[in-house]
């Protein structure tokens, strides 16, 4: 499997890639799940609504323990949605046929290339970077909303603690330098988030593919099978890591220390 997602058709600016098909499929599944679980919502839950309530309430409480009541109420739709979207994509990528169903493309100059019809949504840097950049956009908005421009800048560059005299002047310089590092760290965050998720998912798929190649074709599933279970776990952990880190980044910039939040 190559590093990049491949377009299954050249039309529409080539946006119909094998990974985007999986992303739309995941989107469709999520939409269907939402309609089935919350279409006819009742006060006494039953069936799928029960499961959806358990899932959403669990996620809400989990993010609430990190962000606090005020922030989680405002931002849960993003963190909960990101977690579910990554999870569904990661697990769908483990379905039989993903990465294995496809066709050979013959080149005019000779040689051929195997093009899989489906590719894990998060095994595409475009998808993971889209999520990371979207997060940075909402992070900036919420950080501004919570702190204001002055507070936002002060949060990054202003000295923390109570200093006086010469110590204060030294601390201003020190915290300014720390602020510059903080800005670099903030700028690196979307890159780190994108590559961490992409690397883990793509690496997992590569592992499965290589393991399948170790044995004859009719036994290909065998060595990969135990690693499929591991990948199920990796899929969950990576969904958790991405959304958890995003929540922590937001909490760091919106944290008012000992101040009372009103």
């Amino acid at each position: 499997m190559p590093l990049n997602a491949e377009s299954v058709t050249d039309s529409f600016l080539g946006i119909f890639t094998n990974s985007s098909i999986m992303v739309w499929f995941s989107t469709l599944l999520i939409v269907l799940f939402c309609r089935a679980a919350a279409g006819k919502i009742t006060m006494v839950p039953a069936g799928l609504q029960n499961f959806a309530e358990w899932l959403i309430e669990g996620l809400y409480n989990f993010f609430g323990s990190l962000l606090g009541d005020h922030l989680v109420k405002k931002t849960f739709w993003f963190f909960g949605g990101t977690f579910l979207f990554i999870l569904v994509n990661n697990w769908l990528a483990l379905m039989p046929g993903v990465g294995t169903l496809g066709w050979d493309i013959e080149y005019d100059g000779g040689g051929s290339h195997y093009l899989p019809l489906l590719r894990g949504g998060n095994a595409d840097l475009n998808m993971t970077s889209a999520m990371a950049v979207t997060f940075m956009a909402v992070w900036t908005f919420w950080a501004y909303q919570e702190n204001g421009i002055k507070g936002f800048v002060a949060h990054i560059f202003a000295p923390k603690g109570k200093f006086q005299g010469i110590m204060m002047k030294i601390m201003i310089v020190v915290f300014f330098m720390v602020g510059i590092l903080e800005v670099i760290s903030i700028l690196i965050r979307p890159i780190a988030l994108s590559f961490r998720l992409f690397g883990n998912i793509y690496g997992g798929e590569q592992t499965l593919e290589k393991l399948m190649m170790l044995v004859p074709e009719n036994l290909a599933f065998l060595p990969a099978l135990p690693f499929c279970f591991m990948e199920i776990l990796v899929g969950l952990i990576q969904a958790l890591v991405f959304s958890l880190l995003a929540a922590i980044f937001l909490n760091l910039i919106c944290d008012h220390g000992d101040e009372e939040h009103h």
Binding site: L3, V31, A130
Partner: protein, 178 residues
């Protein structure tokens, strides 16, 4: 400054190279941003929104229920206390009424008993008086009969008719000897 710009230029080239290697393309990236935004919208609008709303409603209903339960328990405790107080008051009233009834019954019995005694004495006195009157009447009749018998006997023995004075005198003598 130039070094920094060159570094920045180098960084941009590196970024482009990484992008090419990993197949990062602006149209694909934008398409995925749209996809992601769509998923978030769908989840917020059709799953998180209604489910969180129902969870909130349920939480409020449970809290209301708990509050009402506490209120009911408080009312129950109050009413138990009130009931106990009422029962105590009723018991006291009942006891007082029973005591009063007992006292009244005793007084009534005493009164009735006295009335009965008085009535009995009255009846006895009347009976004694009637007996005395009857005895007097009998005595008078006996006297009269005795007198008549004495006069009659005397008339038959003497053979002469006695006048009223004789009769009166003989009767008087005979009666005084009784």
């Amino acid at each position: 400054m130039f070094t920094l710009l060159a570094e920045a230029g180098g960084l941009a080239d590196t970024a482009k190279e990484i992008g090419r290697t990993f197949g990062w393309k602006a149209p694909l990236f934008i398409a995925q941003v749209v996809n992601f935004a769509l998923v978030l919208y769908v989840l917020k609008r059709f799953a998180f929104g209604p489910i969180q709303e129902i969870l909130e409603k349920r939480k409020n209903r449970i809290a209301d229920g708990e509050a009402k339960l506490e209120e009911i328990e408080q009312k129950l405790a109050d009413s138990e206390q009130e009931k106990a107080a009422l029962l105590e008051a009723a018991n006291e009233d009942a006891k007082r009424l029973v005591d009063e009834a007992k006292e009244s019954a005793a007084a009534l019995a005493e009164k009735k008993s006295q009335e009965a005694v008085a009535q009995a004495q009255n009846i006895l006195a009347k009976a004694e008086e009637a007996s005395r009157a009857e005895a007097a009447a009998l005595k008078a009749e006996i006297k009269k009969e005795f007198g008549r018998l004495v006069v009659e006997t005397t008339t038959q023995v003497t053979g002469k008719t006695l006048n009223a004075t004789d009769q009166k005198r003989i009767n008087k003598e005979a009666l005084s000897s009784l």
